[in-house]
């Protein structure tokens, strides 16, 4: 009999699931640490990819990249399975649960019955954990919720086999092996350097600080859009990508600040504490930016120059953090 599973509340689904899987598997690790060493942090503004008519704006790396990066950095063995039909996916899941395994699932948000109706949108890369079953259905630990829930069999099938972009195709994953010795310090150093380089030097106008500059230009052009509602929907879309989807506030910047303060302890480098509070201030700046965007959604008077100015401040402060981290020569 394996030890009982303890649900823990996290800000973001993927890092929360990986943190729970590892902790349950005998390697206690926080969500923020998973997010940091999984190189979760980014900024991407991709106007050529549209979500409901809006450009793709992301404050974190694409789905599954955290799991993959953590697998590589810590030397784990992760088994990912996909299925061609709901029936075999369900049978296999029942089998794994009976074996006492803790299983991560990729699902759609829209078809999960326990999500509040206002928050159901077609996002297919949500992650949750299955830790057991009873006569009604599977016992689910969704890290972004306070408490575990029970999801009825067919409802979970529907969520696992939603169609469209990032279609989960029943994807499920388990951690098969955690190495005896893990060099966390080395993983941290690599991850921080990689994130800094991506944010500062990606030679594309859509990624990192350059991506923020491109978004700023787009915001300044909003008043020229032929549809009057567009500007306000666009700014609302930014807020949702930054604050609504589980980011822990300030588009993951506050979670990254938590990561940096943990790193200071692991590596014994107090400069990382300074970096953590700098990143915390960046997160606050992003929240001020969201606040200025929200005026437009309420139909109040707003100025795009002011909003763009707020974004400029985020960009400048964030650049300082990455330069500071690079200067530490970790």
């Amino acid at each position: 009999m394996s030890k009982p599973f303890v649900h823990s509340h996290a800000a973001h689904c993927e890092s929360g699931v990986v943190s729970s899987l590892l902790t349950h598997g005998g390697y206690p690790i926080s969500e923020a640490m998973v997010f940091g060493i999984g190189n979760g942090l980014t900024f991407a503004y991709l106007p050529m990819i549209k979500i409901d008519g809006m450009p793709l704006i992301a404050y974190r790396m694409p789905p599954r990249s955290i799991i993959k990066a953590v697998e590589k950095r810590l030397g784990l063995e992760v088994k990912i399975k996909k299925y061609s039909n709901p029936q075999s996916a369900r049978e296999d899941l029942v089998k794994m649960v009976d074996e006492g395994k803790l299983v991560g699932l990729q699902t759609s948000v829209y078809w999960l019955p326990y999500f509040p109706p206002e928050m159901r949108f077609h996002f297919n890369a949500h992650n949750l954990l299955v830790y057991g079953k009873n006569e009604e259905g599977f016992l689910i630990s969704d890290p972004v919720f306070e408490h575990p829930v029970v999801v009825e069999w067919s409802a979970l099938d529907k969520a696992r086999f939603a169609r469209g972009v990032f279609a989960p195709k029943g994807a499920c994953y388990t951690i098969e092996k955690i190495p005896q010795i893990i060099d966390l310090g080395k993983a941290i150093k690599k991850a921080i350097n990689q994130t800094c380089n991506m944010m500062l030097y990606t030679p594309l106008p859509w990624v990192g600080l350059r991506g923020m500059r491109t978004m700023k230009k787009a915001i300044l052009k909003l008043p020229n859009h032929p549809h009057k509602r567009y500007a306000s929907l666009y700014l609302g879309h930014i807020i949702r990508m930054q604050e609504e989807i589980g980011t822990g506030g300030g588009g993951f910047r506050l979670m990254y600040a938590a990561f940096l303060s943990e790193c200071a302890d692991v590596l014994g480098r107090s400069e990382l504490k300074t970096a953590s509070s700098m990143m915390g201030e960046v997160g606050d700046k992003w929240r001020v930016f969201a606040l200025s965007c929200s005026k437009a959604c309420k139909g109040k008077d707003y100025s795009v120059t002011e909003i763009a100015q707020r974004l400029q401040e985020c960009m400048e402060e964030e650049e300082k953090v990455y330069r500071f981290l690079k200067g530490l020569k970790l």
């Binding site: 509040p116 879309h237 604050e243 822990g248 979670m255």
Partner: protein
């Protein structure tokens, strides 16, 4: 953000639940703290929901007046755009657009109707007769 500054606006869609946010506590360490929601988030979420409701109501009017098929009503009711529905069904966007027209919709094969029903999770009876939006 300090822990005591974490917004506690009791926003409607959380239904009394709390969300995890990161904020600084003792000695400036950032940790998880519980938030009952931020009004800024609420505004943005409700705006997105209301936009779908507005589109659904317009599609329903068109359907009732006999100018459009019920497909548009279900598309917006399920919070989908033309692009999302096209990705979920595998039909081109222009095909979905045509299926929203009454004449083309009437001529759809039963397989195509079944696919739409599956994507919307409804019966064909429901597909043909959408209830009035709330």
């Amino acid at each position: 953000m300090k822990k005591e500054e974490a917004p506690q606006d009791n926003i409607s869609m959380y239904k009394g639940e709390k969300k995890a946010l990161y904020a600084s506590g003792d000695e400036g360490r950032f940790e998880i703290t519980q938030s009952s929601g931020w009004s800024v988030e609420e505004i943005a979420t409700l705006q997105a929901v209301e936009e779908f409701e507005r589109l659904e109501a317009a599609a329903y009017r068109e359907f009732k007046e006999g100018n459009a098929s019920p497909l548009g009503v279900w598309m917006y009711r399920r919070r989908m755009s033309l692009a999302t529905l096209s990705q979920c069904t595998g039909f081109w966007e222009w095909s979905v657009k045509r299926h929203c027209k009454l004449d083309t919709f009437k001529g759809l094969s039963s397989q195509k109707i079944a696919l739409y029903c599956d994507v919307f999770d409804i019966t064909s009876e429901e597909l043909y007769n959408p209830k009035e939006p709330k």
